[in-house]
Symmetry: C2
Subunit: 410 residues, 2 copies
């Protein structure tokens, strides 16, 4: 839970800040809102580019997830470009959907003069509606012409759906005096649950790193970031986190060298930064909530308690109402499956103790209510059953979530 001094510094920037990358976005008419950006192309100019991806564990995987997995395998992690659309998930669309993903990758590859297996695709939006390639294919040459450093920021907008804010994180550091950048964009909002990589995130770096190591480090980073966010407990059909490394910086990340831990830290920082932005911008959310579990018997128990609290609609509605209802927090811990003695449990929100040794800590109601009106809350529960800890990020649960999701076909 402690935060060490970081070697990596957050900087202004976007996916094109790392050397070698360009990006662009257009309004292809896939989203309902006329003129909304909904199709983006991210590409690396470097032939040395490596790629890695982490995808949904949902048995119902969208066509772009199936194709991107295949392309990463077939190209042995040498993918150089990503075509991503919002407004349509291209999931549960049968052979037509698979064909749409393939045609998109093939057409982009032709324009970029690379192999089709070097193009990854990603989609987000409504499930079960055929993705119209007649909207996408004519825009690919336009996107190719627009590819630039300047247009890259627009890609962060094109991937959003019900998100209310653009999600970009860029960091910079030097290894033995040589600079490296890592940048990421993400979309979150609904169907967010960490049984896997959460929704869409794209990461670029100019580090030189083998595809296999990039994959391992990405898996680790995802586990401690996107997989620790929960908005509604629903694991999407389209979750994809894709990392591209151009290799154009002079820094090589290699096994058995301190460069590995150094790069892992920067990658982790970008993923955690994006994950927090996703939690804060959960559908209808008004607050970013960090759930910290201390003193669990085992890491699994700690994780169970953190997720039970982070997923509980009763806890999340109480936080929306700034109600210091610690009973719902200990109740969620109780049904999580973790072993602990309820009479030893302490619970606090921010610096305010609500429950001590399983009973009311005798806090001031008005002060607690005021504290819970903060926009960032840390819910901390100490089980006093061991030394394991865990953390998840979530948000409160408001009318906004119902509004967004009960409308006739989002």
């Amino acid at each position: 839970m402690s935060r060490t001094m970081s070697n990596w510094e957050a900087v202004e920037g976007d996916l094109a800040t790392p050397a070698g990358f360009r990006a662009a976005a257009v309004a292809a008419g896939i989203k309902k809102t006329a003129g909304a950006l909904d199709l983006a192309l991210i590409a690396s100019d470097s032939a040395a580019t490596t790629a890695a991806g982490v995808f949904t564990t949902n048995r119902v995987a969208a066509a772009p997830v199936v194709l991107s997995r295949q392309h990463l395998m077939e190209s042995r992690g040498r993918c150089r470009a990503v075509v991503v659309n919002a407004g349509n998930a291209n999931a549960c669309t049968g052979k037509e959907g698979a064909l749409a993903a393939e045609e998109t990758a093939r057409a982009a590859a032709e324009l970029l003069e690379i192999e089709p297996t070097q193009v990854l695709v990603a989609s987000t939006g409504v499930i079960g509606v055929t993705l119209r390639t007649d909207l996408i294919l004519p825009q690919l040459p336009v996107l190719k012409d627009k590819l630039s450093k300047e247009n890259a920021a627009a890609a962060a907008d094109a991937i959003l759906t019900t998100d209310t804010a653009r999600k970009i994180c860029t960091v910079r550091s030097e290894f033995k005096g040589k600079p490296v950048h890592i940048s990421g964009v993400a979309k979150g909002s609904g169907m967010i649950h960490p049984r896997m990589a959460t929704m869409l995130a794209f990461i670029t770096t100019d580090a030189s790193i083998g595809a296999r190591m990039l994959h391992h480090l990405l898996l680790d980073a995802v586990e401690d970031s996107f997989n620790r966010v929960t908005v509604d407990g629903d694991t999407s059909t389209n979750d994809s986190v894709i990392a591209l490394a151009s290799g154009l910086s002079e820094v090589a990340v290699i096994p058995g060298n301190e460069s590995r831990a150094w790069f892992a830290e920067g990658l982790g920082q970008v993923c955690q930064c994006l994950a927090r932005k996703i939690a804060r911008d959960g559908e209808g959310a008004s607050k970013l909530v960090t759930v910290e579990v201390l003193g669990a018997r085992t890491p699994l128990d700690a994780d169970r308690v953190a997720r039970a609290i982070g997923n509980s609609p009763l806890v999340k509605t109480a936080l929306a109402g700034a109600d210091p209802n610690w009973g719902r927090i200990i109740c969620a811990a109780g049904y999580s499956g973790a072993k602990f003695n309820p009479t030893r449990v302490d619970i606090s929100v921010n610096s305010l103790e609500l429950c001590r040794q399983g009973v009311d800590a005798g806090f001031d109601e008005a002060a607690a209510h005021r504290e819970l009106e903060q926009k960032e809350l840390v819910v901390r529960i100490d089980l006093h059953a061991g030394k394991a800890t865990a953390m998840v990020w979530t948000c409160d649960f408001t009318h906004g979530y119902i509004d967004i999701n009960s409308s006739y076909r989002s």
Copy 2:
């Protein structure tokens, strides 16, 4: 899933319809609303009465749950009375809470001239606030004086919290020409999740049945009723289902006799009737939703899919908005952990097919929207992966849930 002709007939009545039972309720001032009934006593006049209980699996069990478990054990299932309050859960209240439950049972036992271990207690309401025995103890003599057949229906009101409707089910049948009655009351609404008996339900019968068999049959009945309801995925600290059998009818339910299956059917009918009422009256609910899973590989897979769909906030908000968003239904099945081939899945709501072999079935949008505006919906998913089936009852997810649960300390 098929419904056989029942030997048991639903009749008007309440907990006092079975011979030997009387009940009463008073306003003790435990609920915030002045004058609201919040304390009830249910008692059997028969010394032959047997009792059984099924309680929450939450590790944080309320004081009345701990005490009732103990009394059932110590009396070997010879409990004859139940004292139940709403407005305060008496959970996470430490030694004071345990003492409050004990004092209540002891005082009631003295008035009824039975052993303290023959009294069960149950509470529902807010967690973490000390239960005031100074409000309860003076009312026990009043309750004892009011005990009658006529006052029994009021007990069904006294146990409610955010429920909007009284939940009573009574059935009658004859075994070899001799009548038996089974009646039940329940409270539901929030913190409803079937990792155990759901919130509070009390069942009376005049059948003559051993405590051990009553317990076995109650476990089975609970599994197919209360444990198949989900409102919000939160398992409460207070869930209790208690059955009392006065033995005053001339029918003995005995092992190795067809009376066992016959009684189990009636008990199951009462529990399922109450479970459906709980789902229909879930906090903020506007619709009763039955999720039916067909063609699963194993019963566990069927159960996982049913619960994933029934718990999905995205599915439940879509149903609230009458949105035939089958993509969210197949998505929930996909992350449930069950094994199936997505391209073989069929999904329908009521008689309307929405998804065939994993893709849009080509339904009429307007007709589907109209169908989903019904107050009772059956969501049916056929995985075509085997022969196992499962079912859960749930409700839609509306602003009402947020309103009820985000208010400052419910």
